[in-house]
């Protein structure tokens, strides 16, 4: 069997979480979600081993980076062993965590086990704002302590700023804070509704003007501090001209390509990305190649809002985050919330 090469694969190691972020995009945190919200790892103190699933995946797929996320991955007591298991087989390991459980000893253990990058949220330079958005008191102090531990033990951290109406004005000072604590980069992610975030769409979705202003702030910080800043949630060219921000990195949905970030949950279900509930297949039942075959991916990959049909950027932009359109409006081809809200200001580039 020929191997599939992918840049990265995301593994959701648990659905449990110790935070209740208002902006959470995990589909199982959506109000009224009727499915299995996941094992309560914290209460049970144990969880099913994931090594057999990883073994099966890595037999078929060569990937540069395996991203561990959740829920909150640190709720798994076996996380360091899991990291070791992956690192021994070649891929780099990125860990997406809220940092609340990242003691100094655990930080050192995880770096030693092979975590290459810790991705930690830094939602404001103000404790009360960070804690409120995280739905957990003590979150701000914990994440800064985690950043300090990582710095001390010569690990790498990337700070993630989720831009919402509530915190977007804090971006400049928050970038300084991230830099001061040794963050090697910052992800500036505009709020992308999904999961629990659906219940807070109006309250959190920043305006177009706010996002443009924040990008200006980020551009200046990237220049002044030499800090790599990337906009990981797509920003539509019809709304925002990224050439005005030459020091910021930005991207678009890569579902279906080698740069896709297929997401696997503990049961072996494979999805096109971590924002969508769409399941392509199960790794225990089929080979990975069959799961990600073009005909399986067609509905997801080819979805495009009608508004974008004649835009010159449609192949790259694809209308933004189609998973957000799916979870908000039940249709992959709908305009996702940021585009829909700002349609009147959109200036599509005609082909």
């Amino acid at each position: 069997m020929s191997r599939i090469f992918l840049q990265s694969v995301i593994l959701e190691v648990t659905r449990s979480c110790n935070h209740a972020c208002l902006h959470c995009y995990n589909f199982w945190s959506a109000p009224g979600y009727a499915g299995q919200a996941g094992l309560d790892v914290a209460a049970e103190g144990h969880c099913a081993p994931l090594e057999p699933l990883l073994e099966r995946l890595l037999e078929q797929v060569t990937c540069r980076t395996l991203v561990l996320t959740g829920g909150e991955p640190l709720l798994r007591p076996d996380l360091p062993q899991l990291v070791e298991f992956i690192a021994r087989r070649g891929p780099k390991v990125n860990l997406i965590t809220n940092g609340h459980l990242l003691s100094e000893a655990l930080t050192a253990r995880l770096i030693e086990a092979g975590v290459t990058i810790f991705e930690l949220p830094l939602l404001s330079f103000r404790r009360e704002v960070h804690d409120a958005l995280s739905g957990a008191s003590g979150a701000f102090d914990a994440v800064l302590a985690a950043l300090a531990h990582i710095r001390k033990h010569r690990g790498q951290a990337v700070a993630v700023f989720v831009a919402t109406k509530r915190n977007i004005a804090d971006l400049g000072e928050t970038l300084k804070l991230a830099y001061a604590f040794g963050a090697r980069g910052v992800m500036f992610n505009r709020f992308n509704p999904g999961g629990r975030g659906l219940a807070h769409l109006e309250e959190l979705l920043p305006t177009l003007g706010q996002v443009r202003e924040a990008l200006g702030v980020a551009e200046r910080a990237a220049t002044a501090l030499g800090l790599p800043i990337s906009c990981s949630i797509p920003l539509q060219p019809c709304l925002i001209d990224m050439s005005e921000y030459p020091h910021l990195w930005h991207g678009f949905c890569a579902a279906g390509s080698q740069r896709a970030y297929y997401t696997i949950d503990p049961s072996g279900d494979v999805r096109p990305c971590n924002h969508t509930p769409t399941v392509l297949g199960n790794l225990w039942q089929e080979p990975f190649a069959a799961i990600i075959s073009p005909e399986r991916l067609f509905p997801f990959v080819s979805a495009l809002p009608a508004f974008c049909a004649s835009c010159r950027h449609r192949a790259t932009c694809q209308g933004g985050c189609k998973a957000a359109a799916q979870v908000c409006y039940g249709d992959l081809s709908a305009e996702e919330p940021f585009l829909r809200t700002n349609l009147a200001s959109a200036r599509p580039a005609r082909a």
């Binding site: 990058i117 710095r151 000072e173 040794g182 992800m187 192949a315 985050c321």
Partner: protein, 239 residues
């Protein structure tokens, strides 16, 4: 799974792209088309086309399909790749139009062929295009930052410690790490070389030491120099 007409033609395009060795990579592209039980009985067996492919127009179409391989290379540059994709799709449409005008091809069939080619080209382009919304920035692997970066970090740490009311122990831990790195930079080159050598040798033994074992031994004068530098830059009085 039942495919509609357009989806079927797109699947045909992707399968053909795979068969022409268009460099779209990934074993998944080569999965054969699913059987289509909904075909009318008379069409269940493939028939030989009755047209002759000798003309220049057909040759042009063939060339365009085989140029998908070059597209996969061009796709690595986002801007140039997108231009190449659009150009290729347009050229294919022009070639089909010529054949229709020359009455060598039915217009409806040409439309479907364009769907297949557009999908194939887009598929090949997308496989190679450097687009991703996850970690698009090339974050550096761990390396010690330069002295000016560390000094700026120290300044901002003090500033943010005041404005953000950060826990003192956390600030102290972050400050100590910056001072340690600054101290390392003040080491003589041969001492830094010795440390690197120690790390490399440990790596050669395929048994990396624990972090504590390669903890830097920073001479007191270096640590003091670093502390002075930080204090000086922050205009903090000693004592």
């Amino acid at each position: 799974m039942r495919l509609d007409r357009r989806e079927f033609m797109r699947a045909v395009g992707v399968a053909l792209a795979g068969l022409t060795g268009a460099g779209c990579g990934g074993a998944a592209c080569y999965v054969p088309l699913p059987p289509t039980p909904s075909l009318p009985a008379g069409l269940a067996t493939p028939t030989e086309p009755t047209v002759s492919f000798a003309g220049a127009g057909w040759q042009r179409l063939r060339e365009l399909w085989y140029s998908l391989d070059a597209l996969s290379e061009k796709a690595k540059d986002l801007e140039a790749g997108q231009r190449a994709l659009e150009e290729l799709v347009r050229e294919h449409e022009d070639a089909l139009r010529s054949l229709v005008e020359a009455r060598e091809l039915n217009a409806n069939v040409a439309d479907e062929m364009q769907v297949a080619f557009s999908e194939a080209a887009w598929h090949v382009w997308r496989k190679g295009a450097p687009i991703t919304c996850y970690l698009p920035a090339p974050y550096p692997d761990y390396e010690l930052q330069g002295r000016s970066d560390l000094q700026r970090q120290a300044e901002l740490l003090e500033e943010m410690a005041k404005t953000s009311q950060i826990d003192e122990a956390t600030v102290a831990e972050a400050r100590a790490a910056i001072e340690r790195d600054l101290a390392y930079l003040t080491l003589a080159e041969e001492k830094r070389d010795a440390i690197r050598k120690q790390v490399m040798e440990a790596g050669d033994r395929a048994s990396w030491p624990k972090l504590a074992e390669i903890e830097l031994e920073i001479p007191p004068e270096c640590r003091e120099a670093a502390e002075i530098l930080v204090a000086l830059l922050l205009q903090r009085d000693g004592g």
